[in-house]
Structure formats: structure tokens, C-alpha cells
């Protein structure tokens, strides 16, 4: 019962918001005190216009307003017209997000493990890590574009930079808190130093790494988009900047919606992977 009520509320709120967005502006002249200026379609467009724009941008509907798949080759022709259409842009953004995520997670894990298990190394690097950590990583994006050009590399490096610290700190914390008794138990069962690392330290640190995967994928997407804002040949970020330059609110909104959907799908995938990898944890800890 409660779940159904919740669902009804959620649908009602969503539809209500869409309705206000769609028709609210019509009341602006009569009731200016009720309808804020922000609802001006020039800034935020309208759901119907955004949907129309989406059909056009995704080449599903041609310029003449007919379905592309009704005419032979119309879809391919539309796709060929721009090298940054919605599909290509989404592909580039997702690809770079994944690369940033993978490189950030793996290097962050290795660094965290090394420094977390070596008091000497963490002592030496401590001031540099705190210094770097207090720089907002995004502030480095323009420098990275300058250094790596406007291609994919600069987006991956930007995403890597935001992900690596997050994963590093989590792994570092995890590597420091490996249970001494687990290490002793392994030693007494005959494990060598290397075997202790491989069979105890790495797996118990992994649990901390996994906890950082969800934020890491979101951070990676942010890093890529910011990189694309500053300079890119392809990508959703570039689409947003171009639409803005043309004063095309609907175009920006389409891109934002695509990002929202991509974000939801990526997080859901990561959470599935995380739940599988942490299946040994007691149930109540999983949700935490």
C-alpha cells in the first residue's frame, strides 16, 4: 500500500512539474507574481519543444518532419551531416568517462595500497598529497586542455584527475585498517609476505575501493563534461556549449537529459557490479 502511494506521489509530482514547465509561462503576463521569470522558454525551453528537438538531433525525424526510417537512407544521411550529432557525442562522452574511470580507479588503488601499507612512503608524500588535494581538480582542466590538446586524451586526463584522488583516499584508508588478526591468521597458516599481500591486504582493501566506485563514475562524467566545455571536437559538453552560443535552450536541455540518463545508467551498472563484488558482506552493511 505504502509503496503504491509513494509511486503515485512520485508520478504526480513529475507530471505536475512538467505541466508547469509546459504551460506555466502562458500565465506570466496575467499573473506575474506567480510565475517566475526563470520559466521563460527562452532560457529553459518547454518539454514539447525539447522532445521535438530531441527527435531532430537524434536523426529520428528529418528536417521535413517525417520519420527517417520511412525513407531509405535518410537516417544515414542525417547522421553524416554532422560529426557531433547526438549519437556520436554521447558515444565520445561515455567512452572517455569509462576510460577516465578505469584509469583513475586502477591507479588510485595502486597508489593507495602502496602508501597505505608503507609508513615511510606516506610520511614522505604526505605534504604533497594534502597540497594537491586542496586544489579543486576542475581548476586544472584548462591547463590539461592546453597540454593534451582538444582530443580525447585531455578529457580522459581530466576525468582521471578527479577520480584518482577520490579512489586513492578510500584505498589508503582501507589499506591502513586491514585487520591485524587477519594478517596474523594468514601468517600462521603459512603465508609468505607476498601471499599475505595478495590474499589478505588486497581483498580487504578492495572492500573500501568498491565503496568509492559509485562516486567515482559520477566524478568521471563531470570531469569529461568540464573538459568538453573548455575545448573538444566531440561530446555532449561541446553540444551544450554550441547550443548555448546559438541561444538554443531546447538543444541544451536535450543534452542535459541525455547526461541525466547516462548518469543514471552508469550508476546503476556500477552499483550492480559493487553489490556482486561485495556479496560476502552482511546484508545490512551493503546498503550503507
Amino acid at each position: 500500500m505504502r509503496r503504491i502511494a509513494t509511486l503515485l506521489w512520485q508520478v504526480a509530482i513529475g507530471l505536475g512539474a512538467l505541466a508547469i514547465w509546459e504551460w506555466g509561462w502562458a500565465l506570466h503576463d496575467r499573473l506575474p507574481w506567480l510565475v517566475p521569470d526563470l520559466l521563460d522558454p527562452y532560457f529553459v525551453s518547454k518539454p514539447s519543444a525539447i522532445f521535438q528537438q530531441f527527435l531532430g538531433m537524434s536523426c529520428l525525424v528529418g528536417r521535413d518532419g517525417t520519420w527517417s526510417f520511412a525513407t531509405d537512407g535518410a537516417f544515414a544521411k542525417c547522421m553524416g551531416r554532422s560529426d557531433n550529432n547526438l549519437w556520436i557525442a554521447t558515444w565520445f562522452t561515455l567512452k572517455n568517462t569509462l576510460w577516465g574511470f578505469l584509469t583513475g580507479v586502477s591507479s588510485g588503488f595502486v597508489l593507495g595500497l602502496l602508501l597505505g601499507r608503507s609508513d615511510r612512503l606516506s610520511e614522505i608524500f604526505y605534504p604533497y598529497i594534502t597540497a594537491f588535494n586542496s586544489v579543486p581538480r576542475i581548476a586544472l582542466a584548462p591547463i590539461i586542455i592546453l597540454a593534451f590538446g582538444i582530443g580525447d586524451a585531455s578529457k580522459i586526463v581530466t576525468a582521471w584527475l578527479v577520480v584518482v584522488f577520490l579512489v586513492f583516499f578510500n584505498t589508503f584508508e582501507g589499506a591502513r585498517s586491514v585487520d591485524r588478526d587477519h594478517i596474523n591468521a594468514a601468517r600462521l597458516l603459512g603465508a609468505s609476505e607476498w601471499q599475505v599481500t595478495r590474499t589478505v591486504i588486497v581483498p580487504s582493501t578492495m572492500a573500501w575501493l568498491f565503496a568509492s566506485l559509485s562516486p567515482a563514475i559520477s566524478f568521471s562524467l563531470i570531469g569529461v563534461i568540464v573538459g568538453e566545455f573548455i575545448g573538444a571536437e566531440h561530446g555532449i559538453g561541446r553540444m551544450i556549449i554550441e547550443a548555448e552560443a546559438r541561444g538554443e535552450a531546447a538543444g541544451m536541455m536535450v543534452a542535459v537529459f541525455v547526461l541525466m540518463i547516462a548518469g543514471v545508467i552508469l550508476s546503476a551498472l556500477v552499483r550492480r557490479v559493487q553489490a556482486y563484488l561485495l556479496r560476502w558482506r552482511p546484508a545490512q552493511q551493503l546498503s550503507a
Partner: protein
Amino acid sequence: MASIPPEAAAARCRIEIDKLRKGFLASGNEGDREVVAVDDASFRINDGEFVALLGPSGCGKSTILNMVATLIAPSGGAIKVDGAPVTFGKPERHVGYVFQKDTLFPWRTVEDNIGYALELAGVPSGERRGRVAEAIHQAGLDGFARFYPASLSGGMRQRVSLMRTLIANPEILLMDEPFGALDTHTKLDMHSVLLDLWERQRQTVLFVTHDLGEALTLADRIILLSARPGRVKQDFRVDFARPRDAVALRETRQYAELFSRIWHSLGEEFTKSRNA
């Protein structure tokens, strides 16, 4: 070496502890102070003996066991295993240890926990699977091979711990209150399991406990430690017939007699440790 008398060879000494001492540095508001946990403890354990180390909490039982296991370094005295002095941080291959705390690897299933030592030793997976399956059966854990420790009861987890240690066939077994956290019923259950397993191999066992009933049920000898600093107060022989029935034994007269004899002596140490 040629002139070892036959009875000495039969009763080969496996663990020899001589004037063992351990002081911990405890920092308080009056500066650092040495807390002596174990002082001048000496005893020997022969091959195949099941010895219980009994004493009130905090009297240094774990400390002694951990020194034998090379987990902590003694401040004085000597420990010899099979005649050779042990080195801190270098556990002997044929010595197994069962912890008081649950130290199963939570990310490994029951079968992977039990097979851990074999995996380390590079035992081929076919042979490993066979031995693990047998161990699971011996411990009465059939059907739980693929479970993770988090989903097992305390008693089951302790069985897994036991098998994880026993699968490597250690000749000497060190156990630190392995059933301390279990309820009375599960504990009795575990006594039967342990006695059963021990009858097959007759390992040399040093079993730490503060539970007199447990010591009487399991051991051939009970070494009673004094309150902190731990030293050997008395050494009792427990010659109940084997194989023993952990439950039926408790109803015998011999059990009651020995119980009350040791109980009095143990009680003095409990009082001392409470007033310390």
C-alpha cells in the same frame, strides 16, 4: 644422542617453556610503567598431550600462547618447540593456531577459508577440493561449502576456523579460548567435535581457557596459572578415560571431585585478580 633412555624418547617433549617473562609498556598519566603480564612461567608439554592453560581473565594466558606462536616477543626466558628455540615473527610450519576472535576471511566462502592453507602450499586444486570436502563433512558443515562466514552462526564459524587450521595437519595445536564466545550448549557441542577430531590425530594441544569445566572435559593436564603476573601455580593430571563423552563426563563422580579440588585453587586466583 645415542644414549636417550627409551621412556624419554616415548615421551618426546614438544613444547618447552622456561622462565618465560613478558612486560608490556603501558603509558598512563604518571608516565610509562611496565605491566608484567607473565613472570617466570615454566612448563613442558609432551608429544600427544592435551594441555589446558587455565587461569582468570587477564592473567597472561593469551600472552603466553602468542609468544609460543611467535606473534609477540618475550621479554625474558626461553621457548623451545621440538628442542629448537622459536624466533619472533617466524611461525613454525607444523604449529597451528585457533584464535579467540573470529578471524575467518569474510570475503572467502566456507570452502575457500578451509582450503586456504592448502592453496598457500600450492596443493593442486583437485586434491584440495577432496580434502576440503572431507574436512567440511568431518566438521558437520555439509551443505554450507558455498556460504560466506557472515551468514553462519557463531558455532559454525568456529568449526570453520578449526578446520581451516586442522586441514594443514599441524602436529602442534595452539588454541586461545576458541569457544569463549559461544553459548553453553554450542560450547558442549564443539567439545564433542574437537574431541572427535583430536582422537583421530592426537595432536599436541595447548588450549587456553578460563572455564574449568571445559579444561576438565578436554585435557589430559591442567596447568593452573596464578593471577597476573601469570606464573604456574599448580599442575593437575586429568586421567579420565578416553574417548570421552563431553556431556556424560560431567555427571561422573571423578569429574565432580577433581572439579571441586581445582575450583578452590582457581577461586583464590579469581579473587586476587578481582582485587588487583
